[in-house]
């Protein structure tokens, strides 16, 4: 029988630093909740808003798979591998931090904020060579269907990471329903509702709610209103 966990939007950790407003689904930085440490290999889900012209100065990462998904506005990324790129709404960026990398993330727009999700997944292999990947997604490919945006396989749709994980985005009109089939035995899925109301089986979720489901082979997703959501399938044991 499926096991589930519900994380309502207003139960997330919150940090406001003036230029940065961040909601943490799991313990991060100064937000520590031993009941909210991770969902399987999914360790960080941060819902960030950065003011115009502001951002995160150069800082290090290692041994995490770091995925950034802009929701509004642009984010400029620079790293110690000499990658310089702007990630826009519709793009997805994946960075394998591996043995260590430095990077900065800035909102270069002087007038508008940037909103983005930053997601960290434990890697299935430590100390890999750091790498960076970024692609632009076709927004139509998620309209009333699930668009794969991340997988473990470089030859597959979306970006790839060092973990047995698959991410999908969906932008569904009200009333549209589909079934999600778990791709790897032992994986669970963490659903994050970007906007609108969604039912996962019989569980109603609202905007920015998170919901984990595991010990099941599949589940049904129904848009109760026009809705947009992110599905993150990850190993529950890693």
């Amino acid at each position: 029988m499926a096991q589930t966990v519900l994380h309502k939007a207003d139960t997330r950790g919150h940090a406001s630093h003036g230029w940065l407003n961040s909601y943490h689904s799991f313990s991060f930085s100064s937000y520590y909740n031993p009941q909210r440490m991770n969902f399987g290999a999914l360790r960080v889900l941060n819902d960030d808003t950065v003011d115009a012209g502001m951002g995160f100065g150069t800082h290090p990462h290692d041994n995490m798979e770091i995925i950034s998904i802009p929701l509004e506005g642009d984010l400029e990324h620079k790293d110690s591998m000499n990658n310089v790129a702007v990630i826009k709404n519709g793009d997805i960026q994946a960075m394998s931090a591996g043995t260590g990398i430095y990077h900065s993330e800035y909102n270069k727009d002087r007038a508008h904020r940037v909103k983005f999700l930053q997601i960290w997944v434990y890697p299935n292999k430590k100390n890999v060579e750091p790498r960076y990947d970024q692609i632009t997604l076709n927004l139509e490919d998620r309209h009333n269907k699930l668009q794969q945006i991340l997988s473990p396989n470089p030859e597959d749709e979306g970006v790839w990471i060092h973990q047995n994980a698959w991410f999908h985005l969906g932008k569904f009109d009200k009333g549209i329903s589909t079934e999600y089939n778990i791709k790897a035995k032992g994986n669970g899925v963490y659903v994050f509702v970007l906007s609108g109301d969604v039912k996962i089986n019989d569980q109603l979720l609202n905007t920015r709610d998170g919901y984990g489901i595991w010990d099941t082979d599949k589940f049904t997703i129904t848009a109760e209103t026009d809705a947009e959501f992110l599905l993150m399938e990850v190993p529950m044991v890693f």
């Binding site: 360790r43 800082h59 041994n63």
Partner: protein
């Protein structure tokens, strides 16, 4: 109250220094860093550590050697993998380990 002594081991010197700085920003913690195995083992012998954080770049063979050496000296020592290389996960890792 004595500070909690934390030994941080990481091959990446820049990240090691970052982690040390972040740990020491907490008034209840004191970090000592080492990037090489022999250095780490020597530091471990020099004072009573409560927690060892294993950072990036440590080969499996080294990790096994270090853990064996530490536990031979202190079977109660807490050894934790540090992920992330910065401030995001560090505090939670330490709080979880100590509690």
């Amino acid at each position: 109250m004595d500070k909690v002594e934390i030994l941080v081991i990481c091959r990446h010197e820049g990240i090691l220094q970052t982690i040390i700085r972040l740990v020491n920003a907490n008034p209840d913690w004191n970090a000592t860093g080492a990037s090489a195995d022999d250095e780490a083992i020597a530091e471990f012998a020099a004072r009573p550590f409560k927690l060892v954080l294993l950072g990036s770049g440590i080969e499996k063979e080294s990790e096994d050697r270090l853990c064996t050496a530490f536990r031979a000296r202190d079977p109660e020592i807490i050894i934790v993998q540090h992920y992330g290389g910065g401030s995001g996960l560090l505090a939670a890792e330490i709080y979880q380990a100590l509690n």
